[in-house]
Amino acid sequence: MFLKAFAVGGAICTIAQLLINYTKITSGKILVTFLLLGVVLQAFGLYKYLVDFAGAGATVPISGFGYLLAQGAIDGAKESLFGAITGGITAAGAGITAAIVFGYIFALIFRVRSKKN
């Protein structure tokens, strides 16, 4: 399982590095691209197979975040219209909350280091 996670996670990051090397896409746009890739793949029901195969190798990259959003929306859509609209952010709520809370706390605690090294 660790080997699978290593291989798939590494492969996804290598694709990102290829984009960085051969195109002029900035890192922010690469994140958005991979997120949307995860959403689209899961919208067709495909990303789930990658998650089943590679575990954290598929969920830790940002495309796994997209998978979570899409899957939440699909699960919500089974229930009601309200579920269809709120399902995505409900599923991704833990990650977004963690990013906001931990991000703010650590930004308050730590100072910017000099960028010499």
């Binding site: 660790f2 996670a5 290593f6 798939v8 996670g9 590494g10 996804i12 990051c13 290598t14 990102a16 590095q17 984009l19 960085i20 090397n21 890192s27 690469i30 994140l31 958005v32 991979f34 997120l35 959403v39 689209v40 899961q42 919208a43 954290a56 190798g57 969920t59 830790v60 990259p61 940002i62 796994g64 975040f65 997209g66 979570l68 959003l69 939440g72 929306a73 699909i74 859509a77 219209l81 269809a84 399902g87 995505g88 952010i89 599923a91 833990a94 990650g95 909350t97 963690a98 990013a99 906001i100 931990f102 991000g103 703010y104 650590f106 930004a107 308050l108 730590f110 910017v112 090294n117």
Partner: protein, 154 residues
């Protein structure tokens, strides 16, 4: 006349820079991205196994806890300045994992702390993470609506 000469200078200068500047070693950057990205995912997998074993979590709850811990680690490493060094080494290998998302939140938040805790830290946090949340939530609503109509029709 003057501008033409300037353009010429600029072109010559660019050619010169391109000939002198070191070329990124393609294969090496790819290998590094693969290695670091894979390692980060293995750490995630380890946390996944550990939580499954000791806390008995499963399904979406397990995935949510894993991503929260990974975000915590990413934010912490960015705070102490380690993550930027990893990023310099790994490029895409450190951007794409969810720890890179945490890095993109903490980095500008620390950078703009001098502009105040509200309009500095709190608003600049989302310089890079904002578009991710916007596109992510918008696309998930789109997917949800399409599936809702799909389930209605069927």
């Amino acid at each position: 006349m003057q501008s033409e000469r300037n353009a010429n200078f600029n072109r010559n200068y660019n050619d010169y820079i391109c000939s002198v500047a070191p070329k990124t070693k393609e294969a090496r950057t790819l290998l590094r991205a693969f290695f670091v990205g894979g390692t980060i995912c293995c750490i995630g997998q380890f946390i996944r196994f550990a939580l499954e074993y000791w806390a008995g979590l499963s399904g979406t709850e397990l995935a949510a806890y894993v991503s929260m811990i990974m975000i915590f680690l990413g934010a912490f490493l960015t705070g102490i300045g380690v993550y930027d060094r990893i990023g310099k080494y790994a490029g895409g290998g450190s951007i794409v994992p969810i720890t890179g998302f945490a890095n993109s939140v903490v980095s500008p938040a620390m950078e703009f702390k001098s502009e105040g805790f509200v309009y500095g830290t709190a608003s600049k946090m989302f310089v890079i993470a904002g578009p991710i949340i916007v596109f992510g939530v918008a696309s998930s609503v789109l997917v949800g609506l399409i599936y809702y109509v799909y389930f209605l029709v069927i």
